[in-house]
Point group: C2
Chain length 375, copies 2
């Protein structure tokens, strides 16, 4: 990773917030912390800040690598760095672990100061609206009145969009990638099966598995395996794995027979080793709840009328989780709301995961759009 | 159900087979039983027999109702009966529970005469090829040299196709509905997540849950919830459930919030009360293994060259589990093999489940095709 356009070694930081945060659910957090990273330098006018919002399983560690682990490259390292599409020589780039996360920001695995124990199931469910409020408080602390850009893919795109609606004066450009204006019944259905896998795992103990010394590993593993199917396209699975057999012939048992089984189980195992089940539940609920048109009787145009930012909306041809059609719905409503909006559907065979991958056309678009942002 | 075109009361029968059955896996069953139902009368020439092959969770109980349970209508009652598209005034219609099933035919829940206990995990995995052989033996016992038609949807369509290839002289017409020539990596992936849900359920006990007095209910429930998502179209879910909330507002907990969650959990619960987990595992493996072109180096046309039957292939526009494209692959290979083949893509919003539903155009096509079969 020590190529010339890489950020090299990076470190996370923490910021503590003491004033209470009233959440959309009605719950109140008396205090909370956010873990974040920054790359590049904030200019004296504080006009070059770019906020990166992460997706379901992402974190604040967006780019660069940690000194103690050469394999710890950030999840969007191909996009962010000196000379990269989101150029850290020009922009001050910020990654924040969302409230409720399991990578350092206050969440279910954090110690609840009132009880001295981990929050577990007592940690309230949060929404993109709650996150938008934490982003605004965070910006205030750094003296950033307005982000040059707020950018995210999937749930991160929804979070970016939410901030543009909730705090229009804080965002000059919003980049919404591989997202949707709300989840469909099918999207919610997939999320609910994933949740049921965790919730019904006997090791879940109503979310209080920490104090039982267990972990709902089976459930989280299943949830991730299922999620992973929806992140890849049928075609990419076909070209990567097809019906290839692991050992050449059918074994006629329930071990791994097809390569795709090996891949999925590996992905599930790996994820279950490093993510928190309560956070996974919470993040899927944040997805389900996202629906900016809800307060406007389903009228997305009316909801978007609040926005002041310019928009870039990107979708990927083979994404069936949040298809290009879903992005076009956002674009149409933004256009109808007289927003300045650019849109591109990027040909890609990699499904929803395309937003994380290096693709020339995709990166050129991002580079061009970012280049045109004045600072 | 006591409409004039209904079969009324029906009863299952059993047939015992004493000569050993060598399975594709290499395992041998010394004896086995098949549970079946018949509707209509076999004509003296024995030329009017129609075999219905069931899908993953189906059974021999295809039409009519059981005397002791007015809610026990057969799974394809809208298609089969006096005056219906598969007209029992003209055809002798047979439903068979597949070997390995849990509705009466020998399967994992059956008593293994060698041990005096249920087979459980000792029941061998079976393939559509094994089923085809049992269908042939069954036909022999009834003196049926050749079926007028063999018909099935989904896995049932694959079973019908397999019989037409393995015993070409036994089938005059094959009707393959909402099926595919083989599963894709994505299809296998969904099956494997479902299997992993069952296999990792602590109540599974390696498949020997019968002797532990448990049942892997959580796993089977998840498997069915997941399967159900793939049976419905995105559009049908959207029009049936949309983002409708059960109680009007978000509850901010993990209970049922959206109607789709209520529906899916109900479907999962109902299924887990009435199906056997080992049979579910076995049926999904039979799907994975189905690949008639495998013995011909992937050349489907070469595989189909064995067939002698005429074919009707039907697909449904909104079926994303086995899309119309997958049916067209079958049709193209049949045409290239010089088979007589009819094909229709039926406009429908109900996804894969369309094959079970009453639709005018679908039923008219079936009626017309069946009408033209000489007996």
């Amino acid at each position: 990773m020590h190529d010339s356009d890489s950020l090299g070694i990076v470190s996370p930081q923490r910021m503590h917030f003491d004033s209470p945060l009233s959440l959309r659910s009605g719950a109140v957090l008396d205090s909370f912390e956010l873990t974040y990273e920054t790359y590049g330098e904030l200019n004296p006018a504080k006009s070059n800040a770019v906020l990166i919002c992460h997706a379901l399983s992402g974190s604040h560690h967006v780019a660069g690598v940690y000194a103690d682990n050469p394999k710890s490259t950030g999840w969007w390292n191909n996009m962010i760095g000196p000379g990269k599409p989101i150029d850290t020589r020009r922009f001050f780039v910020i990654g924040i672990n969302n409230l409720g996360g399991c990578h350092g920001s206050t969440g279910p695995i954090s110690i609840n100061s009132k009880t001295g124990k981990r929050y577990g199931p007592d940690f309230p469910l949060v929404t993109t609206g709650d996150w938008a409020e934490t982003y605004a408080r965070f910006a205030d602390r750094l003296g950033i009145d307005c982000f040059a850009a707020v950018i995210g893919g999937s749930l991160g795109g929804m979070s970016a969009l939410q901030l543009a609606l909730d705090a229009p004066e804080r965002v000059r450009h919003t980049i919404v990638i591989a997202a949707a204006a709300k989840l469909t019944a099918q999207n919610i259905a997939f999320n609910d099966v994933a949740r049921q896998a965790i919730l019904t795992d006997p090791d879940f103990y109503g979310g209080d598995y920490y104090s039982h010394g267990t972990f709902p590993r089976r459930g989280l593993r299943l949830a991730r395996m299922l999620g992973h199917i929806t992140y890849l396209s049928d075609d990419s699975m076909a070209s990567k794995f097809g019906r290839e057999l692991r050992n050449g012939t059918f074994a006629f048992n329930f071990g791994v027979e097809f390569q795709i089984e090996s891949y999925l189980r590996y992905q599930g195992d790996k994820f279950a080793d490093q993510f928190d089940a309560n956070t996974y539940l919470l993040m899927t609920k944040a997805l389900d709840y996202f629906d900016p048109a809800q307060d406007c009787d389903g009228d997305l145009q009316a909801a978007f009328a609040r926005a002041q930012a310019d928009f870039l909306v990107l979708s990927f041809s083979s994404d069936w989780r949040f298809s290009p059609e879903r992005s076009r719905t956002i674009v149409k409503a933004l256009v109808a709301s007289k927003r300045n909006v650019s849109y591109a559907e990027i040909p890609s065979s990699h499904g929803h995961d395309s937003f994380l991958m290096k693709d020339d056309y995709y990166h050129q678009l991002m580079r061009a759009y970012m280049h045109n942002i004045s600072i």
